[in-house]
C-alpha cells in the first residue's frame, strides 16, 4: 500500500465504498423480490376464493377479520409499492455497477507502468 500513489489509494477507498453500497442494494433487492413474490402468490390465492369468503389479516401480533375486496385492494397496493421500490433498487444497482466499472478502469490505468517513448 506504501508504494501506491495517494490518488490511487483514494480511488481504492472509493471502490470499496461502492462495493459495500452495491452489496447493500443487492441484499435489499432480494428482500423486496421475495416480498413481491409472496404478495403476488397471496393475491392469486385470495382472488380464487368466492366473494363472500372469510379473510383475515395480521395487524402486528393480532389477526383481524377483513373482506376479500379490502384484502385484494391492499395486496394490489402493496404489490405496486414493492414494484416501484424494486425498480428504484434496480436503477441504483445499475448505476453502482457502472461507477464500479469506470473506477476499476481508472485504477488499472493509473497503476499501468508508463510506456517508454
Amino acid at each position: 500500500m506504501q508504494n501506491i500513489p495517494p490518488q490511487v489509494q483514494a480511488m481504492l477507498g472509493q471502490l470499496e465504498s461502492y462495493q459495500q453500497q452495491l452489496q447493500l442494494v443487492v441484499q435489499q433487492k432480494q428482500k423486496v423480490q421475495l416480498e413481491l413474490t409472496e404478495a403476488k402468490k397471496a393475491l392469486d390465492e385470495i382472488e380464487s376464493l368466492p366473494d363472500d369468503a372469510v379473510v383475515y389479516k395480521t395487524v402486528g401480533t393480532l389477526i383481524v377479520k377483513t373482506t376479500k375486496d379490502k384484502a385484494v385492494a391492499e395486496l394490489k397496493e402493496k404489490i405496486e409499492t414493492l414494484e416501484v421500490r424494486l425498480n428504484a433498487l434496480e436503477r441504483q444497482e445499475k448505476k453502482l455497477n457502472e461507477k464500479l466499472k469506470e473506477l476499476t478502469a481508472q485504477i488499472q490505468s493509473a497503476l499501468r507502468p508508463p510506456t517508454a517513448g
Binding site: 404478495a39 397471496a42 395480521t58
Partner: protein
C-alpha cells in the same frame, strides 16, 4: 476445455474446490432448514387430525409464543384459518388446511431432492478436481 484445464494453476483448482465445498455446506444447511419446516408441518397436520376427531368441546392451552399459553375451549374444531402469505389468512376447514399442508410438504420435498442432487453434482466435481490436483502434483515435483 482440455486446453483450459492445462493452463489452470494449482491455486486456481484449490480455489475452485474451496468454492464448491462452501456451496455444498450452504446447500446442506438449506436441506436442514427444509427438514425442520417439514417436521413442523407434520406436527401441525397431526394436531389438526387430532382436533378434528377429538377436539370438540375440549379445554386446551393455546400457545401465544415465547412459552406462554392461554386456556381456551374448542367450539368448532373444523373452523381454522391458514396463512397464504403477505399477512393474509383465509378461513378453511380442517380438511382444506391439511390438504394445503400436504401440498407444501410435497413442494418442500421436491426442493429438498433438487438440493440433494446439486450436492451430489458438486461432490462429483470436487472429486474430479481433487483427482486433477493429484495428477498435477507429481508434475510439480519433477
Amino acid at each position: 476445455m482440455a486446453e483450459e484445464k492445462k493452463t489452470r494453476t494449482l491455486e486456481q483448482i484449490q480455489d475452485e474446490i474451496r468454492s464448491y465445498l462452501g456451496e455444498i455446506e450452504y446447500l446442506r444447511s438449506q436441506v436442514g432448514v427444509i427438514d425442520a419446516t417439514i417436521t413442523d408441518l407434520r406436527t401441525v397436520d397431526a394436531t389438526l387430525a387430532y382436533l378434528k376427531e377429538k377436539g370438540k368441546g375440549k379445554e386446551i392451552y393455546i400457545p401465544l409464543g415465547s412459552g406462554v399459553a392461554i386456556r381456551g375451549k374448542i367450539e368448532n374444531p373444523d373452523d381454522v384459518i391458514m396463512d397464504v402469505g403477505a399477512g393474509i389468512l383465509v378461513g378453511a376447514t380442517v380438511d382444506e388446511a391439511r390438504e394445503n399442508i400436504e401440498k407444501r410438504i410435497k413442494a418442500l420435498m421436491d426442493l429438498r431432492l433438487a438440493l440433494l442432487r446439486k450436492i451430489e453434482e458438486d461432490t462429483r466435481k470436487v472429486n474430479e478436481l481433487l483427482k486433477e490436483l493429484q495428477e498435477m502434483q507429481p508434475e510439480k515435483r519433477e
